[in-house]
Structure formats: structure tokens, C-alpha cells
Point group: C2
Chain length 317, copies 2
């Protein structure tokens, strides 16, 4: 299932080979990551593309470049036509190819629910890894996609999302975090994470714990899908978002004016969310310019790193 010749890939293996053999450039440091999800949209190609973008994102969040991947697939073969599986694989392959990443193998099992994801091998310059450990007091926190994908995807499942919003959500979730990674590296950032299943606040908390610092978030500066507000107030959101909020609440001081819906949106479980980048005040303008040049879906300064209890978050209204 190699979608295009890739310089790493060994061609001298059979079509049913037990494993792929690849030859990375000498001296490469590798980024290894793995993620898989259940469908978040109805369109099979779009689901494949989103699942691929979501898995590739972990490589970008480390400042790395994806190269080869193995597919993880669960498929209800007794219930769903095989053509659907082929369309999911095609969507994933094309999205990986956009990232110049070859899918060189994988494993599919019979499953009650469709699942797809990738185990990705990338390279990274060890002097420029983006980690959780390098956020410093005074850094600005910049987010490169809006949040609220979990709320919107839940509405989509209940047939409550207008077609234009479905298209926008699909486009946002399939957008690679490559341009955001490029901007972070160009601006000299050393700390980042991607916003996925644990939601903005919990992923931020992990970053802060890794660096031994706290943060102040300005809720009004966080970019949110417009449609998410009314839906969240109606209680339409994934169970994961409620669990995320319960997880961060003991470590988070919310402005009392922030209602439950806003808190839930800040904790909303994302699929294929943006990068959250910590950047020094000196690098802030360069980062915002680079993000603009890369046309990332958002480029919002949502808060700052502060001294205090490691992992503590203050959310200002």
C-alpha cells in the first residue's frame, strides 16, 4: 500500500511481507507516535483524511516531519460494504501523501465499530524538538485552530449540524498541522502540544506540568466554532468533554462569570485540533507573522505562562 515511491522504503520485499523495511538517513532522530479514532464524520474519505491528519499531528507537535506510517484499522465487515473501507483507506492515503508520508503496511481486524489510525515514524532535529518541558514564565500561548470540534461532531452525529458547518468542521479537522509546526520552528519556539482528546485545558495542563509552570488563559481570546456555543448550552457534547472538565477543575481557577457551557467548551474533546505553542515575548510577532503566512485556521494569543503551582490554570473571562 505504498502510495508513491518514498526514498526510505525497501522495494525488495513481497506484497504480503510480514513487515516493512525502511532506511532512514544516517544519524536521524526518530519521532514515534500512534493514534486511531472512530468515525467523526459520515463521509468515508473525509474520515480517513481526518484520522490521518489527527495521527500525523503528534509528529508535528514534536517539531518533526512524518515519513512512513502503518495503518491501524477495525472494520465491521459483516455490516458495512467493503467499498466503504476502500474509501476510508483512500482518504487516509491521500492525506498522508499530502504530508509526503508513505503508508507502508498495517493491520485490519474485524470490529464492531469502524476505527482507523496510523502509527507514524518521523524525523526530528534533536536540537529543535518541541516538547512539554520548555515553556518558560512570560511565554505567550498561541493556538492555531479553533476549538469546539467535539461539540460540533456530536451535533453532526445527531443530525443537528447544518451542511455548511459540516463542511467547515471537516475542513478544519483535515487540515495538517504542518504549517503551524513550520511557524513554531521558524519563530524559535521550543514548547508545544496538540489539542486533541483531552481538550484545550488538559493538554495545556500537561504542557505546564512538563515545564513546572502555571498559565493564565483569556477565555474571550480563545477561538471557538460559532455553532458550538448554542449546542453546548443545549448539552450537546461528547462525554469525554465532561470528563475532561472534571479532570482539570481541581487545578483550574475559573472566573465566576464563566458559565458551564464556556468551561465545557474549553475542555471539549477535540479530534485533530491545532497546535498550542508557547513562545517567548520576543518571538511572538515572528510566530504570528509565520502563522499568517502559513494560513493556519487560527493564530490566537490565548494566554501566557506564569509562575505558580505547576499545572495550575487561571481562566479570566
Amino acid at each position: 500500500m505504498v502510495p508513491f515511491p518514498h526514498p526510505w522504503v525497501d522495494a525488495d520485499v513481497g506484497p504480503f511481507e510480514d513487515a516493512a523495511v525502511v532506511h532512514p538517513p544516517s544519524g536521524s532522530s526518530l519521532v514515534l507516535t500512534l493514534d486511531f479514532i472512530t468515525p467523526v464524520v459520515d463521509d468515508p474519505e473525509a474520515f480517513g483524511a481526518i484520522a490521518a491528519a489527527n495521527a500525523l499531528s503528534d509528529v508535528y507537535a514534536m517539531g518533526g516531519e512524518p515519513h512512513v506510517a502503518l495503518a491501524i484499522c477495525g472494520f465491521p465487515e459483516n455490516r458495512v460494504p467493503r467499498e466503504i473501507l476502500e474509501r476510508v483507506l483512500r482518504g487516509a492515503r491521500d492525506k498522508a501523501a499530502e504530508a509526503v508520508c508513505a503508508i507502508v503496511g498495517g493491520h485490519t481486524i474485524q470490529d464492531d465499530e469502524m476505527k482507523y489510525g496510523l502509527s507514524v515514524v518521523g524525523t526530528v532535529d534533536p536540537r529543535r524538538v518541541l516538547t512539554h518541558t520548555h515553556a518558560r514564565v512570560g511565554d505567550k500561548l498561541v493556538l492555531t485552530k479553533p476549538i469546539g470540534f467535539g461539540v460540533a461532531a456530536q451535533a453532526l452525529k445527531k443530525d443537528r449540524l447544518p451542511a455548511t458547518e459540516v463542511a467547515r468542521l471537516t475542513s478544519l479537522m483535515s487540515t495538517l498541522n504542518r504549517a503551524a509546526r513550520d511557524a513554531a520552528l521558524a519563530a524559535g519556539a521550543r514548547a508545544a502540544t496538540d489539542v486533541t482528546g483531552f481538550g484545550l485545558l488538559a493538554h495545556l495542563r500537561h504542557l505546564l506540568l512538563g515545564s513546572g509552570v502555571g498559565a493564565r488563559i483569556f477565555a474571550s481570546q480563545v477561538p471557538v466554532l460559532e455553532c458550538a456555543w448554542a449546542l453546548a448550552r443545549e448539552g450537546i457534547l461528547p462525554g469525554g468533554s465532561r470528563r475532561n472538565l472534571a479532570y482539570v477543575t481541581p487545578h483550574t481557577q475559573f472566573d465566576p462569570r464563566l458559565d458551564e457551557a464556556t468551561r465545557l467548551i474549553l475542555a471539549d474533546a477535540q479530534t485533530s485540533g491545532g497546535l498550542l505553542i508557547a513562545i517567548s515575548p520576543q518571538g511572538e510577532q515572528a510566530l504570528l507573522s509565520e502563522l499568517t503566512r502559513g494560513a493556519t485556521p487560527a493564530r490566537a494569543v490565548i494566554g501566557e505562562v506564569v509562575a505558580g503551582d505547576p499545572g495550575h490554570i487561571e481562566v479570566v473571562a
Copy 2:
């Protein structure tokens, strides 16, 4: 979740990092593989160990050495106590540690049925890769574990397997194929595969197709779990084994004296089966000596590579 210091692993990352960063020795060729399964035994540690051995096997089948792995996990958190998950992870971690392979990350999702597996990165000497493409006419075919694991596991599911047989099956499925790989390389083999979900005949067929040759198998020489015969005759076997037999039958000439149960056992879907090694007649004795020295569960010459239609198999009674 790094079980022990591993020289590849970068320690300068936080505990919730998005991906692992590893530094393979300069100039390494890598083997990449991924496999995951649903429970085949009741004991959680044993399931973890078997799932790990099963995934690591694909690296050994290529002549490689596993180094680091990411876990793939599905867990029914609403139905199964979390302690069970921890025991599965412990069993897998200890088995990977036996293979000197560090589990450096992974992904767990809520799932209706427990699943576990690994995405493994190993190294291989590119001059000594074991592939599907190097079997030659005249080679002997050697199997390093018995077959019938699928039949026995099905009986276990139906509470029809005596405790001594459960213990034997568990031990066989958790045995690493490392000693078999060592023996194959020491004897100068260039072609091998491992016998897993497609069963002996289909995995053999893939090897033969890769090399453009046929094979003759001596059914009486194939090592089979004693308990599997009666069970298979009763029709106790996984659906996969029937599908495997249907898949190979058009390309296989069975001796008419071989009954349906024998054919099904030769196609039985294995979890963590042995290596099937093609070795030149000159290397045969060395291979058998090395397998004896490595105490592999079986070391049976079950047939030979012949000229003929690529992928064609003759099964002699």
C-alpha cells in the same frame, strides 16, 4: 511507560508527551510492523504477553531485532475493572522486556471488546533480511512451533479445554520467535514468514508467491497440538480457519485421503505461531541443530520448495 532504560530513548520529554523521540544507531535499517488482537486466553497477563509476542514475531520473521514499541489498546472501561487493563499492560511490558524492547507510548480507546497489540520498530542487517522473495527450488521448509492454536483457543472460549492444555497453549503462544530467528540467520536462511491469522497454508502461499515457486507439504510431518484433532473433527474451530481453507483450496492439491479436519488444521488461524523457514538442503542440518540448541517448541521439516505454478501447494498425506 518505559519499562527499563533503553539506549534509543530520549529522556528529555515530559510524561504526557505527544510522541516518543528515539535515536537509533547511525545507519540502521528499520523493520516496522504492527499487530493487535482480541483476547485468546482468560488470564490478563498471559493475554498481554501473547499479544506482545505475536506483534514482536513480525520483526523476528524479517530477521530483525525489536527495540521500541507503541501500544495499541481498546478497553471496555464501563464493563471491565481497570485492574484488568493494568494486568494486560504488565504482561505485555514484561514480554517486551524479555525481547529487550521498550514500550515508549501508545494509545488506548474505549472499545466494546478488549484489544491489545504493538507497533514495533526494530533493526535489521539489510544483507540478511528474511523475506518472502528468497525461497529457492529445493529448499526445505521448517516449522518452529506446532499448529492448531486456533482450534485450541476456540475450545478454551467454550470452556472445553483441559487446564493442562490451556497452560501448554499459553506457553506456546507466549514463546518469542527470537530463538527461531537466531537459528535461521545462523544457518544462512534468506526466506521466512511467521504463521499467524491466515494459517500455515496461506502464509506458505504468500511466501511462494513472493519467490515465484511452489511447494510440497507432507501432512504427516506437520507438528499439531494433540488436542486439536478431536476438536477440529467436532467442528470446534474459528471462522477464520474455514475462510483460510476456502482461500487456499483453489491453489492447493490435497491428497484425497486427507479429511476435512486435517485440511482445516493446516489452514487453522494461529495467534503467535512459529516461523516457517525456507533453507537450502546444505543448510538444513545446521538449522535443525541451531533450533535444537535454541529449544524452539518444534523443529520439523514439513516439506520442500518445488518448481511449478507460483503459489501452488501439493499436500501429501
